[in-house]
């Protein structure tokens, strides 16, 4: 093997680097440039960053963002750990429910989700009105920073759940059996053997939650918490007629800090080998639960799901409600909103499916390739790919979209349409924005595949490509699926880049349709109905992929037993 990577690896590296350069780095730099310009003289300078660190409001926002992101990781872990534990340790019927419903919080369509949450958990929402009527007090679920932590945790815990379950399912049974033979059992076994082996998956999820919450602006905006970094950046970038560079300065800070967090996570996993040489039939020994254990497990699972799915219950109610205002339940119910949505907006659904699956497929191809180059190749600057791709997480959708318009609006397609607003560009924008999810999942999965299996395959004469196809990718299937699902689900409800790039209604996806409905008082129910449709579509998509993975896993088990 060449010291600086083989020719094929170098080629792959170049292709991916070019892709990221054209569709991420280039457009973003075009926008971020102003952060480095002194407005007084027009020359390049770092004066704006000096201003940033001298402004107490920004320092306060920085601290708040950090606090919220860290606490969200803690709370999300508390939600996700028991769920992941039950699904991987026990022969538990509830696993299917967890696996298929657990990611649904990720599909929270913009605006409608906000309204639904307020109607349920807001200061004058159903829960609090009920509490006040019966018990005479209220709980400020949605108030201030703690409100942000509450909403973010139930929104983003699936990142941890999906990645951790994928990792747990990949641990070789023999590890656990060896430990048991040596006398370890119960929680000690889980703590000393199982959890450490699943660490890459957990860290991958936790880092995503941290960075995502740190960079997220939707939730703070919906709760009207302004004193955090991402909303500060957004509010400054999107006010009318002001070209205050501070918005872009904050965006640059977000990118740098997110990459720092990623670096720390990578450093935490450094020098440890998480791979196990699987002999097929990955996944822990699953044992049957006693009746009492099952009761306990079901109550925890059902309680958790009730909380995390409550926004969707509220959304469902809203989609059937006539008027719902300052009351525990809507005044009356109707199906008129669904009728309205179905007669008016058929192309939204097909567009969403095409865009979200296109973006997700692009993401796992890129994710697997980058993971492979970073973990397996010897190219010297291979890590930069990882960091560049991850920086997309911190780039606001608005910034990326403005960058695309700036870079690609001069180019025309043969039919006279401008390239920037061609639907395929929207798919690429979505893919770039969601790439970090798929990439973390693929990287974690590949870290668990032992290189010796690949070497064995190559020793037996298989080419690198064939080894990848026949050995590595099948072993990574769980992680790839987790990446596909998160990319798909979140791309399906993305709005910020979409609304900027769309140039004709016939190209628009569901999120845009929801936005249109939610711009008027009378459109609330219809918007919610469209939101529910989005949730159902993505849920079905995920269920199908889950069944597909289970089937291929079982098949592998059968094959390995036959040998």
């Amino acid at each position: 093997m060449a010291k600086n990577g083989t020719l094929g690896e170098k080629g792959l590296f170049l292709i991916i680097a070019l892709f990221l350069l054209v569709f991420l780095v280039g457009p973003v730099i075009q926008v971020f440039y102003v952060a480095f310009v002194d407005v007084n003289t027009g020359s390049l300078s770092l004066i704006n960053f000096v201003d940033f660190f001298n402004t107490s409001l920004f320092m306060e926002s920085f601290y708040n963002s950090f606090y919220v992101a860290s606490m969200s990781v803690v709370v999300a872990s508390i939600i996700a750990l028991p769920l992941a534990y039950y699904t991987s340790r026990f022969d538990f019927k509830g696993s299917v429910i967890i696996q298929s419903l657990g990611f649904i919080p990720l599909i929270m369509p913009p605006f409608v989700g906000a309204v639904a949450m307020q109607l349920f958990f807001g200061e004058n929402g159903s829960v609090n009105l009920f509490l006040e009527d019966t018990l005479g007090f209220k709980i400020p679920f949605m108030d201030g920073l703690n409100g942000v932590i509450f909403v973010q945790s139930i929104h983003y815990f699936p990142f941890i759940l999906l990645n951790l379950s994928a990792a747990l399912n990949n641990i070789d049974r023999s590890m656990e059996e060896s430990a048991q033979n040596l006398g370890s059992s119960g929680f000690g076994l889980f703590r000393k053997i199982v959890f450490p082996l699943a660490m890459p998956g957990y860290i991958a999820g936790a880092v995503l939650v941290f960075i995502k919450v740190f960079d997220d602006l939707g939730t703070p905006l919906l709760l009207n918490v302004n004193n955090m970094l991402a909303p500060q950046a957004y509010l400054r970038i999107s006010s009318i007629g002001i070209d205050d560079p501070m918005g872009y300065v904050i965006a640059v800070v977000l990118v740098v800090f997110s990459l720092g967090a990623l670096g720390i996570a990578g450093w935490a996993l450094k020098g440890k080998d998480y791979s196990t040489t699987q002999k097929g039939g990955g996944g822990l020994n699953k044992r049957k639960m006693t009746r009492l254990e099952a009761l306990g497990a079901y109550s925890i699972v059902i309680f958790t799901l009730l909380i995390v799915l409550s926004p969707h219950f509220a959304l469902t109610l809203l989609s059937f409600a006539t008027v719902w205002s300052y009351s525990i339940f809507p005044d009356a119910y109707t199906t008129a909103h669904y009728a309205e949505v179905f007669t008016e907006t058929p192309e939204f659904i097909t567009n969403t499916l095409i865009y979200a699956s296109g973006a997700a497929v692009m993401d796992i191809i890129l994710g697997v390739s980058i993971a492979y180059l970073v973990i397996r190749s010897k190219i010297k600057i291979r890590k930069t790919l990882d960091y560049v791709a991850m920086s997309a997480l911190a780039v606001p959708g608005l910034v990326l979209a403005i960058g695309y318009l700036r870079t690609f609006s001069d180019v025309e397609l043969p039919n006279g349409q401008m390239l920037a607003s061609w639907w395929l560009m929207l798919v690429i924008a979505l893919a770039v924005r969601r790439l970090p999810y798929a990439l973390r999942a693929c990287t974690a999965a590949m870290q668990q595949v032992s290189v010796s299996l690949e070497e064995a395959s190559e020793n037996l004469g298989a080419s690198k490509f064939k080894t990848m196809r026949k050995i590595t990718i099948p072993l990574m299937a769980g992680g790839i699926l987790a990446g596909f699902v998160t990319s798909f689900a979140t791309a399906a409800v993305e709005l910020s880049a979409t609304i900027m790039l769309i140039s004709s209604e016939s190209d628009a996806p569901l999120a845009y349709g929801i936005y249109i409905f939610m711009q008027s008082a009378s459109g609330r129910g219809a918007g919610a109905a469209l939101g529910i449709i989005a949730v159902i579509i993505v849920a079905l998509g995920t269920y199908v992929s889950y069944r597909f993975m289970e089937k291929s896993r079982k098949q592998r088990e059968v094959e390995s037993k036959d040998e």
């Binding site: 407005v39 007084n40 003289t41 027009g42 004066i47 704006n48 201003d51 940033f52 001298n54 402004t55 107490s56 409001l57 309204v115 307020q118 109607l119 807001g122 004058n124 929402g125 201030g144 905006l221 009207n224 302004n226 909303p231 509010l235 999107s238 006010s239 009318i240 007629g241 002001i242 070209d243 205050d244 560079p245 501070m246 008027v323 719902w324 205002s325 300052y326 009351s327 403005i402 318009l405 609006s409 001069d410 025309e412 401008m418 920037a420 607003s421 609304i499 900027m500 140039s503 004709s504 936005y515 249109i516 409905f517 939610m518 711009q519 008027s520 008082a521 009378s522 459109g523 609330r524």
Partner: protein, 447 residues
């Protein structure tokens, strides 16, 4: 492509001098608008009915996203019309040479509404509807909290409304900016105008990021009272929500505009569309209950539903104020920035100080103590303080700091917005905290 452009513009100029008839219209029209579906759907339908060969594409983008979209795609523009509420959005596009002149001549439309010109004097954009700011409230909410409905801006600073009110920020919504500017231009002027705004803001529960967030919050009942533009209130009511709306005495009635984008590919259809919006036919569509906007053609009110406000007849709407558009424009960004520093980003501090002062005043009403009275008065002075005097707000060199857009490389600006804002922020935060301390001292004296 260049040749194509030359031919196109030559053709366009030839057509411009020819009388307009349906035959010469291009068969497509792309409208960038922030208006809700209920409104755009009705206008699209009516226009396509009138001109069966034309297909209208209504492209919905937020006001700010629309501006950015037009700016970024100007070299390859595919859109014809920009149609939103905020007058300042058109000023931004006009300054960037992204609009073209079209003076739509429509019979019966007056030059001004109140003191506000209905169309751009230079002809870059034309008025199509009018709107006034007011107060909307949720009847169920007020009933549950046993609160009376407010009538005037001043009512909103009453202690009973503490944390029951929502408003959008002027930097987020051009129409909210006009409300703030209206209060600053009322007979009390800059200093007392800010005092009134801050006394009211002390009662805010939230400053929303989108202007639609305010009617949304009132409709769901997450807060009871909202400062909104009339059609948000009227259309919410028409959609069945238990809400009501009123105009306070000092309110500006301002036009919603439409403009034709420079290099519009379908310029004749665009002109026909502007004419259509201002025609009797177009104006009467505004009266549909789910739209509920005020026509600017006085004749259109003949078909209005009962109790529909009419700014041309009803002297109580927007007549008590002389709105100076030039003044508003000169300090536009400064006012927005001041509001954000003093209210949007420091709402929690302002809330706390206001709460303590309300409590102290309540105690004072039943227990007269001159020392406490003085403390309370001093505390209010601290809250009312605005870091920028009226003279400074009118100083061009100072306001230039907030117009960071340099047109030429040689343009120089002195001072940076971030620097100035940080100075204000420190001052404002200190004042609020001190005011709270003084109020608490007063409470201790009165207890």
């Amino acid at each position: 492509m260049n040749v194509k452009n030359v031919i196109a513009s030559t053709l366009a100029s030839v057509v411009f001098f020819a009388p307009l008839s349906a035959k010469e219209l291009e068969n497509k029209l792309v409208v960038i608008t922030s208006f809700p579906k209920d409104l755009t759907k009705s206008f699209k339908k009516a226009f396509e009915k009138k001109y069966p060969n034309v297909k209208v594409e209504m492209l919905k983008k937020k006001t700010t996203a629309g501006i950015k979209y037009i700016q970024e795609t100007k070299k390859n523009n595919k859109a014809d019309i920009y149609w939103v509420s905020a007058p300042d959005a058109f000023e931004v596009l006009k300054d960037d040479d992204l609009l073209q002149v079209y003076k739509s001549v429509t019979k019966g439309i007056p030059e001004t509404i109140g003191s506000y010109p209905l169309s751009d004097p230079d002809g870059f954009y034309s008025g199509v509807a009018a709107a006034g700011y007011g107060i909307m409230w949720n009847n169920r909410y007020l009933k549950a909290k046993k609160l009376p409905a407010p009538k005037e801006w001043k009512d909103l600073s009453n202690a009973i409304y503490y944390r029951h009110i929502g408003m959008s920020a002027p930097s987020r919504s051009g129409t909210t900016h006009l409300t703030v500017e209206t209060m600053l231009q009322s007979e009390e002027g800059w200093k007392d105008g800010w005092r009134n705004i801050k006394r009211m803001a002390g009662n805010f529960k939230t400053v929303t990021e989108r202007s639609f967030g305010v009617p949304d919050g009132v409709n769901t009942g997450s807060f009871g009272i909202g400062i909104v533009i009339d059609f948000f209130g009227l259309s919410s009511k028409a959609s069945g929500f238990p809400v009501d709306f009123t105009y306070p005495r000092y309110t500006a009635v301002v036009p919603a505009n439409v403009g034709i984008i420079a290099n519009a590919p379908h310029v004749n259809t665009a002109r026909a569309f502007v004419d259509f919006l201002r025609s009797n036919e177009g104006q009467s569509i505004l009266l549909e209950p789910k739209i509920s906007r005020l026509p600017i053609n006085p004749a259109a009110y003949a078909n209005a539903p009962a109790n529909f406000p009419n700014p041309f007849k009803d002297s109580s709407i927007g007549q008590d104020i002389n709105f100076d558009v030039k003044l508003s424009k000169s300090r536009y960004n400064l006012v927005n920035s001041l509001f954000d520093v003093m209210i949007t980003y420091r709402l929690a501090d302002l809330n706390e100080a206001t709460k303590a002062l309300h409590e102290a005043e309540k105690l004072l009403s039943s227990n007269n103590n001159n020392k406490a009275k003085k403390l309370i008065a001093d505390a209010w002075v601290l809250i009312d303080k605005t870091p920028v005097s009226e003279e400074l707000a009118l100083n061009d060199d100072f306001t230039a700091i907030f117009k960071t857009k340099r047109k030429k490389r040689t343009d120089k600006v002195f001072g940076r917005q971030a620097q100035v804002e940080e100075k204000w922020d420190r001052e404002v935060k200190d004042n609020y905290q001190q005011a709270k301390t003084l109020a608490n001292l007063a409470i201790d004296l009165l207890k």
